[in-house]
Symmetry: C2
Subunit: 235 residues, 2 copies
């Protein structure tokens, strides 16, 4: 099998910094984790908060700390530093090669979309952001790595797209319709979701938006691991 992960990420309109931070880290016992945080508000302050959360989680994961413990530690650190006045959402998507599972850790009210075989689910269990109180617990979902698995994780900018004109995006419905028509590559799906949201906001995103798509496909190529980054810059 091959696990493919794609991310597309755009800033709030006229904002030079995204309050969303995403990083990937290798797991010391095999596999990798993607860590996505969305700091409260937008711009520089939000960026500092989401970077602090991601750094904390990434460094713990790199030491072999379990995902849930890393999320709780980041929450306690944020609560201690900001006294409960600043919060951040957090999603961790881990490909754990030791257990042969995908582990999804969520401190984010925004649902996660999961498609396995014919079954599509939107995980909507209540989930609170980091930093809101002491002892914040993440919602953890674990599943076998199997061909056909499709997971979509996003920050709330995606779900709130279109609200300004009273037409908020029903993310799960849009994903279902995109998957009905075709079998998109992860980057295609991430790009289409992002483009859909940006159109709903009249090409001026009302918030930072990040979309992460994970897909498990049958093994096609060689044994090489690959990564590709595209960074548009002005001027």
């Amino acid at each position: 099998m091959e696990v493919q992960i794609a991310v597309a990420k755009v800033n709030k309109y006229a904002s030079s910094e995204s309050g969303d931070t995403l990083e990937a880290v290798e797991r010391p016992n095999g596999g990798l984790s993607l860590v996505l945080a969305d700091g409260q508000t937008s711009g520089h302050g939000a960026k500092a908060v989401s970077m602090m959360v991601v750094r904390k989680v990434v460094s713990l994961l790199a030491e072999g700390v379990r995902d849930g413990a890393a999320a709780r530690a980041a929450s306690d650190a944020l609560f201690t530093e900001k006294k409960g006045k600043v919060i951040s959402t957090l999603n961790i998507a881990s490909v754990d090669l030791r257990s042969g599972t995908i582990v999804l850790t969520r401190n984010n009210p925004v649902p996660i979309f999961i498609c396995r075989g014919d079954q599509t689910d939107c995980l909507m269990d209540e989930s609170v952001p980091l930093g809101t109180s002491r002892d914040v617990r993440p919602v953890i979902t674990e599943m076998e790595i199997e061909t056909g698995l499709f997971i979509v994780i996003s920050t709330d900018g995606l779900n709130h797209a279109g609200e300004r004109r009273g037409q908020a995006m029903d993310v799960c419905e849009v994903i279902r319709s995109l998957l009905d028509d075709q079998d998109p590559a992860p980057q295609e799906l991430a790009d289409e979701l992002l483009a859909y949201a940006v159109r709903l906001d009249d090409n001026r995103p009302a918030d930072d938006i990040s979309v992460l798509v994970l897909k498990v496909i049958p093994r096609v190529g060689d044994d090489a691991r690959r990564m590709m980054i595209r960074l548009p810059i002005s001027a």
Copy 2:
């Protein structure tokens, strides 16, 4: 403009872990850095060393520490922990949006290939790995971000490919010939270089091999940042 970065990475034959570690980190003042380390020998011990080096460098860069200082700090930490008995190479490729430059930091005898306009260079200045002694200094090369820039960074597995049968790969020549024929996308070039090396080793790589290609192209798409990861897994 758009900066595109592609990585392709393969383990030594019959080795379940790569001694090479590569991670990307956002720079707090804008842009991002790719950090690539190759720990001495191969397998689990080498992995632990390269992960330690990369973690150290990444966490310092995330705090805003300059690339050269981060490399020196990682070298001192490795020297202190291993008493000079274990070394690691290090390459940092940074897209620094504050200065508008690409900064290449190198503690690695393996040359870096740079193509700007009609000029192609192989940077071969002497450069020692981390952990060899106190006060190891990196070789730092800085250049404007400009369209047409092409940079190739690799671990020594690439340059030593083919040595087993007395036919070591001339990496700079191979890159020149690949660029003469075409204008490859970064992932294509990384894949072709890796495939070339693996063929020289009779499909049984004698060492871990990592190839990183950075290319600056004219702006083609939207403002979104993108990342794509492909992780083949057995079974």
